[in-house]
């Protein structure tokens, strides 16, 4: 007997009765959730009390911000919806930074918060905060649920909203009495809280497609700007096929890295503030930009008035509100990047763009000799060396979760990501403290992958308490702390733009080796480049979480750099001679001053 006939033969079971708390977990299981990250408290206790009856693993965090980043890291590394749980009041407000982080990078996360009982709403009760009010501008949508019977439909709608269209975080605030109350519950019901409404017609019109094809076929110096949308849409294969046919080179945004293989000859790497000089020059020289799932952020464009002045522009994005927001475009296509690329490829003429590729190659000029990666081992430890070696030693296959600052840019420059979702990083909000908790989330999302945290000494200390979570959950994460004793990116700006006045950037840190050991984890220290390989190998071989304290040069800077708001062509180049690199030399840095 097949399942279908069995179902037909059996009378429909009467809807069972469930408590609101039980319905929360039942819907989560229906939505495919097997792990949540959270922290209990008074207003969410009924939900926690019901949890052991469901096949959902709960990861107890040390601070709710950690829960938010874990759910976010889980979603970024897997493409599935992450879930974080917290109580009312301070539990919920501690999520806020994590929610905003997910919002700015369009990451699908469902946040579930407990709320005081409905009779107490609006009375300033103990641990009451207007969380739907607080999170209104940093969620795609949020809901306050005060009745048990609304929990199922609202949670289902929450998942649908989080993952549909341009993804994003949502929050469902559920009062304690709604969790405690019981009502009829039909496990087969899939109804949403309200019907999905018709949205304006999206999609690729034949006219827009034809105009895009004409621009692409005619262009002599076309360039693809690949953004997060390429990864989010699962369009890596379609992008590779498009490039193979049209020969158009690819520059990536920070969150677009991995959407096109970094080791492909047509991958130029990251553009923008810390993009290589030849990449930004290619943007400025291009006669056509094909922007795919990116939003012309100010860190990418520099001065908008002088951005890509010779280029016609095609903008493909799922979100119509991004069209024309920062840059006026010639052809706009509001649609899924994957579908658009699949439609474009067969319509565009095959080309190799050899002259354009040769011109880009020639424009690299002396960049190679300026590249810190090419410099001889002087015995000193440079972050760029650490990242380059880490890439080589992990064969580029690790999921690298970075924090925010100099190390994040060095990672983007020197760790060559060939696969989507290999880099997890907070781009839009730039949230320090993101890396360790996000890596814990990535660990659950990708159990077979090697997961590395790359964090600075500053950002790591913001959420270092989650080392306890690694220990309690028996997780294997490798942690590279790029420790320069400064809040390095701010120090770099102080060096370049604030007369070298290092205000509030020198930072004293705990002994990270002892810190790891205090958590029952392994700690290693590396002070010379010759020690990098052994430490990385030891970390990879160890069963548990390993913290490596890389004591790198204190006053190293990320080059090249486009100063904030400057023209993309106005780069501060990497110094040809630097006292940091040339042992014993004591002369001045020779970088060109910012104009």
């Amino acid at each position: 007997m097949t399942a279908a006939t069995a179902a037909a033969a059996t009378p429909a079971p009467a809807p069972a009765t469930r408590t609101g708390a039980e319905m929360i977990w039942e819907v989560l299981v229906q939505e495919g959730v097997d792990v949540v990250f959270g922290y209990p408290g008074g207003a969410i206790m009924p939900a926690y009390d019901a949890l052991p009856r469901y096949p959902v693993r709960h990861v107890l965090v040390r601070h709710e911000q950690g829960a938010a980043h874990m759910a976010d890291g889980y979603a970024r590394a897997s493409g599935r919806v992450g879930v974080a749980v917290a109580t009312s009041g301070p539990g919920a407000t501690n999520l806020v930074t994590g929610i905003a982080t997910a919002m700015l990078d369009s990451v699908p996360v469902v946040f579930i918060t407990g709320q005081v009982s409905s009779a107490l709403l609006g009375t300033d009760a103990f641990q009451e905060t207007d969380v739907t009010g607080v999170t209104l501008p940093i969620t795609k949508h949020n809901w306050l649920v005060t009745r048990a019977e609304d929990i199922g439909p609202v949670l289902r709608e929450a998942f649908a909203v989080a993952r549909s269209g341009r993804p994003g975080p949502v929050l469902v605030d559920i009062t304690k009495d709604a969790q405690q109350a019981s009502c009829a519950f039909d496990p087969s019901d899939r109804a949403l809280a309200r019907p999905a409404r018709v949205r304006p017609a999206r999609g690729t019109t034949a006219d827009a497609l034809a105009r895009a094809v004409a621009l692409i076929d005619r262009a002599e110096r076309p360039l693809i700007l690949a953004g997060h949308g390429v990864v989010a849409a699962g369009a890596a294969a379609e992008l590779a096929a498009f490039v193979a046919r049209t020969g158009v080179p690819v520059a990536s945004t920070l969150l677009g890295l991995g959407g096109f293989p970094a080791t492909d000859p047509r991958a130029l790497g990251m553009m923008g503030m810390h993009g290589e000089a030849w990449v930004n020059r290619a943007v400025q020289d291009a006669d056509l930009l094909i922007a795919l799932g990116m939003r012309f952020d100010d860190r990418v464009t520099g001065n908008l008035a002088t951005f890509a002045p010779r280029a016609r522009k095609i903008h493909v994005d799922l979100d119509p509100s991004e069209i024309g927001k920062n840059v006026a475009v010639d052809v706009a296509i509001v649609d899924d990047v994957r579908a658009v690329l699949a439609a474009l490829t067969p319509r565009c003429r095959a080309a190799d763009r050899a002259a354009w590729m040769a011109a880009i190659e020639a424009s690299k000029g002396d960049s190679a000799v300026r590249d810190i990666q090419q410099l001889p081992d002087t015995g000193k430890l440079h972050a760029a060396h650490v990242l380059h070696d880490l890439w080589r030693l992990t064969a580029g296959r690790a999921v690298v979760v970075t924090d925010v600052g100099q190390h994040q840019m060095w990672e983007a420059q020197y760790y060559k990501h060939d696969h989507p979702r290999g880099l997890v990083t907070s781009g839009g909000l730039g949230t320090m403290g993101f890396a360790l908790p996000a890596a814990i989330g990535a660990r659950f999302a990708r159990p077979d992958a090697e997961v590395w945290v790359v964090a600075g000494d500053g950002g790591f200390q913001m959420t270092a308490a989650e080392l306890s979570t690694c220990a309690q959950e028996d997780l294997k994460v490798n942690i590279a702390i790029i420790n320069n004793g400064y809040l390095g990116m701010v120090r770099q700006w102080q060096e370049l733009f604030y007369g070298g006045r290092y205000v509030a950037t020198p930072m004293r840190s705990p002994d990270f080796v002892k810190l790891a050991e205090a958590h029952g984890l392994t700690g290693l220290r590396v002070t010379r480049r010759a020690e990098v390989a052994d430490a990385v190998a030891a970390a990879r071989a160890a069963a548990g979480t390993v913290v490596i304290d890389f004591r790198v040069e204190a006053e190293d800077s990320v080059y090249p750099m486009v100063p904030s708001g400057a023209d993309l062509g106005d780069m501060i180049r990497r110094p040809l001679r630097s006292r940091l690199i040339e042992t014993g030399a004591d002369d001045e840095l020779t970088e060109e001053p910012p104009r």
Binding site: T132, G133, L136, P137, K140, H141, L144, A160, V161, A191, L192, R194, P195, A196, R197, V198, R199, P200, D319, P320, S321, I323, G324, K325, A328
Partner: protein, 179 residues
């Protein structure tokens, strides 16, 4: 014909779910995206459970297109229409309290009659005049009354709909389908 880049007042009508917080969400969008609202009104539509919201905003064509796109991103928004100035019936309701003593009352009432406005309350020294009209006519009435001494004014802000048989009407809110 104004250039596309020139800011001008334009009227958008959004059909929204009648749920708690919807006005807050729309207002928050305008604040956060730095739009310059002239007026924002909300009230019942012909369909139970749906409200209509009229927004008058000053912006250029590109900004208006993004505003419409941003409104569509709100989950509670069911439909958005920008009404072309020529095709719209628009009404703003004003109550204007104006000084009117024995010497000036006849002149004040005459001014109101010129605008087809109604006197809805009378006291020895003051009147309240009511006018439902397009925004500009209310501005004009106010200017005419100003020399007599305008004590107070309240306005509802504009509500609007497309003219009968002209252009596209408001999108039918029932253009909804199940998930």
């Amino acid at each position: 014909m104004t250039a596309p880049g020139t800011p001008r007042l334009r009227t958008l009508v959004a059909t929204v779910e009648d749920v708690p917080g919807v006005l807050n969400r729309v207002a928050s969008l305008f604040r956060r995206r730095n739009y310059n609202i002239a007026s924002l009104t909300v009230g019942a539509s012909e369909v139970p459970g749906l409200s209509r919201l009229t927004v008058v905003v000053s912006c250029d064509d590109a900004t208006a297109a993004r505003l419409e796109a941003n409104l569509w991103k709100l989950v509670d928004v069911v439909a958005v229409d920008e009404l072309a100035a020529a095709d719209v019936v628009e009404r703003d309701l004003a109550l204007i309290k104006v000084r009117a003593d024995r010497a000036s009352r006849a002149a004040v009432v005459q001014a109101a009659e010129l605008f087809a406005a109604r006197v809805v309350d009378v006291a020895p020294d003051e009147l309240i005049i009511e006018l439902a009209a397009p925004r500009q006519r209310i501005d004009d009435l106010r200017a005419v009354l100003e020399p007599f001494g305008v004590v107070a004014m309240v306005r509802t802000g504009a509500v609007a709909m497309a003219r009968v048989g002209v252009g596209a009407d408001l999108q039918p809110p029932r253009a909804a389908h199940g998930a």
